[in-house]
């Protein structure tokens, strides 16, 4: 089962939601749609499901044109961000409902419902009603209904957003194992780059209705095609600094200079934009070619067990991702170390011209 989107445009009331998307999802693949809110993730999923028909373009399933086919006649399932279950039916009947409609035999239904419930750890709640369950259990019920029917395409529209941190990690791990055993196309929308990396598979980066890049998740992360993709696929966004390469020297705004290393040597002299990941900047020297930059702290934002340190000097602003909880006061001076061998270079149009060869780590 393969799913192909061909030149998809979607216009609603004159506003373009999706523009020129070409995407080919391989059978049995796990695909992440990554993008900020309003990037068009949900719209694209609704088009894949058949809840809406695209304004232009074709959708092919297994080579067959299904563009105008109603959702009832496509074998898809979908899990929403909100916990959507049938409140009038108990958990068992909720999970069983797609099978009942498909006229599966009673014994078979019972076997599959119990198997799915066990997989999702809700086998003890089968007699309860959805509204008597916690959020996590409600979402598991919704997932159970999506997984029980052997759909060709399973769509997850930010299913873990409304859950607490711990549950989210737990369910995400389970999802990985659940899809290892299946031969269906899974599509998972998320706004969080970290979630995309944790899920693996393939990632399609969306921005304002356009597809920026599609490929293996690690590839897209390590080898972004342009600045936008690099910015979308990093949290906090990758730091972009203007600079020049002239002969043997690289300079950021003519102030900070360092000799061209082996990596950047191949680039012709000229103006570039350099990208440094927030997690690659450190508080202590790690390699001999690190350069030291004096900055002032704007604010230290603590998120979980990490600290987002926003700093500036008179030339640029930057964000640094530090492991652990660090406290800084505003205007504290701080010395930061850039790894010059982990610098991305983009040309004026924003296309990537250099990717560091020392990949690895976040």
């Amino acid at each position: 089962m393969s799913l192909i989107l061909e030149n998809i445009d979607h216009v609603v009331n004159g506003a373009t939601h999706i523009e020129g998307i070409n995407l080919e999802l391989a059978p049995g693949s796990f695909n992440v749609l990554l993008g900020r809110t309003l990037a068009g993730k949900t719209t694209l999923m609704r088009l894949m499901a058949g809840l809406e028909a695209p304004t232009r373009g074709r959708i092919l399933m297994d080579g067959e044109d299904v563009t105008g086919v109603s959702v009832r006649r496509r074998n898809v399932s979908m899990v929403y961000q909100q916990f959507i279950n049938y409140p009038a039916l108990n958990v068992y009947e909720n999970i069983a409902s797609p099978l009942r409609l498909a006229k599966v035999s009673v014994g078979e239904i019972d076997r599959r419902v119990r198997e799915t419930a066990e997989m999702l750890h809700i086998e003890h709640f089968l007699d309860r009603y959805p509204l008597e369950l916690s959020g996590g259990q409600q979402q598991r019920t919704a997932m159970g209904r999506a997984l029980v029917k052997d759909a060709d395409v399973i769509l997850f529209d930010e299913p873990l957003v409304n859950l607490d941190y711990k549950l989210r990690e737990e369910l995400r791990e389970e999802l990985n194992t659940l899809f290892g055993q299946r031969n269906c196309i899974a599509v998972y929308a998320t706004t969080e780059p970290g979630e995309a990396l944790a899920l693996g598979g393939n990632t399609a980066v969306l921005h304002e209705g356009r597809l920026l890049q599609y490929g293996r998740t690690e590839d897209v992360y390590h080898r972004p095609r342009d600045i936008q993709t690099a910015e979308m696929f990093s949290e906090p966004p990758i730091n972009i600094v203007r600079g020049n390469i002239s002969g043997s020297e690289v300079s950021f705004d003519n102030r900070i200079r360092f000799p061209v290393n082996d990596d950047l040597r191949s680039l012709p002299p000229g103006e570039y934009r350099f990208g440094v990941r927030a997690s690659h900047i450190t508080l202590e020297r790690r390699a001999t070619d690190d350069i030291e930059v004096e900055m002032k702290v704007d604010i230290a934002e603590i998120s979980g067990s990490e600290t987002f340190l926003h700093v500036h000097n008179d030339l640029f602003h930057m964000t640094v991702l530090l492991e652990g909880v660090h406290e800084f006061d505003p205007d504290d001076p701080v010395a930061l170390y850039f790894p010059t061998h982990k610098v991305y270079a983009f040309d004026r149009q924003g296309a990537v011209v250099h990717i560091p060869t020392h990949l690895g780590g976040m």
Binding site: L51, Q82, L101
Partner: protein, 297 residues
């Protein structure tokens, strides 16, 4: 920023002192605590007095009613209730009323359910105007429609039937039902519909098995309002009927005989007219506030 916030130590201390003082003032004047209860009691007394008086009269003989002021029945009697339950004009009045009210509730809800679904889920040309136009139907006094209804029903032979009154009451009850149900339906996320279609439900099956249970309290509240408006409407009901489908309210207006007005029986009939309302309110009491908000929370 600090200017707008009175959380300075002095301000806090002052407020604490003021709170203390008011507490002391309250404990000193204990009778003041009874004032709200007393006012409430007085209010209830005035509200319930006419109903008590009706009940009182229904158990008194006609001579006692006309005799003078008595606060409770001296000469307790069930004679009036007996008369209502044995005279066919009287009890048929009740049955006629119940017949057309039930018919009207049934027709209204059947028409309003799909209509309200369309208004809550689909966009179509003029949907907002149409929705508002429904409300304007409630603004026209029924008297306006009296003549056309009367003439039309007389010509097509619907005059003096239950269905005639039931249909006439749809004039204001269907818009009302659509208005209330639309609010409840809009409270159900659209994703439920989509999930059902993804699961493979056909529309009718989804509507009956999934959707209706989700808005059951809304349907209950709607039925209550339909009952209420149809039950108390007198003008259309009495004009469009003569003897075959005469509603109780119009039976009550024709009780004066040669021997004068039968006060006791009239009072008993009044009590029996209030009863169904009380019964219905009892069943929907927990949802009624939501109903008045028309499901919009």
């Amino acid at each position: 920023m600090t200017d707008s916030m009175p959380h300075t130590p002095t301000a806090v201390r002052q407020r604490a002192a003021a709170a203390d003082a008011s507490r002391r003032r309250k404990s000193r004047s204990a009778p003041l605590r009874w004032r709200p209860k007393m006012l409430m009691g007085l209010y209830l007394l005035f509200v319930l007095l006419p109903i008590y008086w009706l009940l009182n009269m229904s158990f008194q003989s006609n001579t006692e009613i006309l005799g003078g002021l008595t606060l409770w029945p001296k000469d307790f009697t069930f004679e009036h209730y007996g008369k209502i339950f044995t005279t066919s004009t009287w009890y048929m009045g009740y049955l006629n009323s119940i017949a057309y009210v039930v018919m009207n509730m049934f027709i209204s809800i059947l028409v309003a359910l799909p209509a309200a679904y369309a208004f809550s889920r689909y966009k179509f040309i003029g949907d907002k105007h149409l929705f508002f136009w429904l409300l304007t139907n409630l603004m026209a006094p029924p008297a306006v429609f009296l003549l056309p209804y009367f003439q039309l029903y007389y010509t097509v032979g619907l005059f003096d039937t239950h269905i005639a009154v039931a249909l006439a009451h749809c004039l204001f009850n269907i818009p009302l039902a659509i208005w209330i149900l639309e609010g409840f339906m809009s409270g159900v996320p659209k994703e439920i519909d989509e999930t059902a279609f993804i699961d493979g439900y056909s529309f009718p099956k989804f509507f009956i098995k999934i959707f209706i249970p989700m808005i059951s309290s809304g349907i209950g509240v709607t039925l209550f309002f339909l009952f209420m408006f149809s039950w108390v409407e007198l003008l259309l009901a009495s004009t469009l009927t003569s003897t075959g489908a005469q509603p109780i309210a119009s039976v009550m207006t024709s009780t004066s005989t040669a021997s004068g007005i039968d006060w006791g029986t009239l009072a008993a009939a009044g009590v029996l007219t209030i009863l169904p309302g009380i019964l219905v309110v009892y069943f929907v009491r927990n949802h009624i506030a939501k109903g008045f908000a028309l499901g919009r929370t």
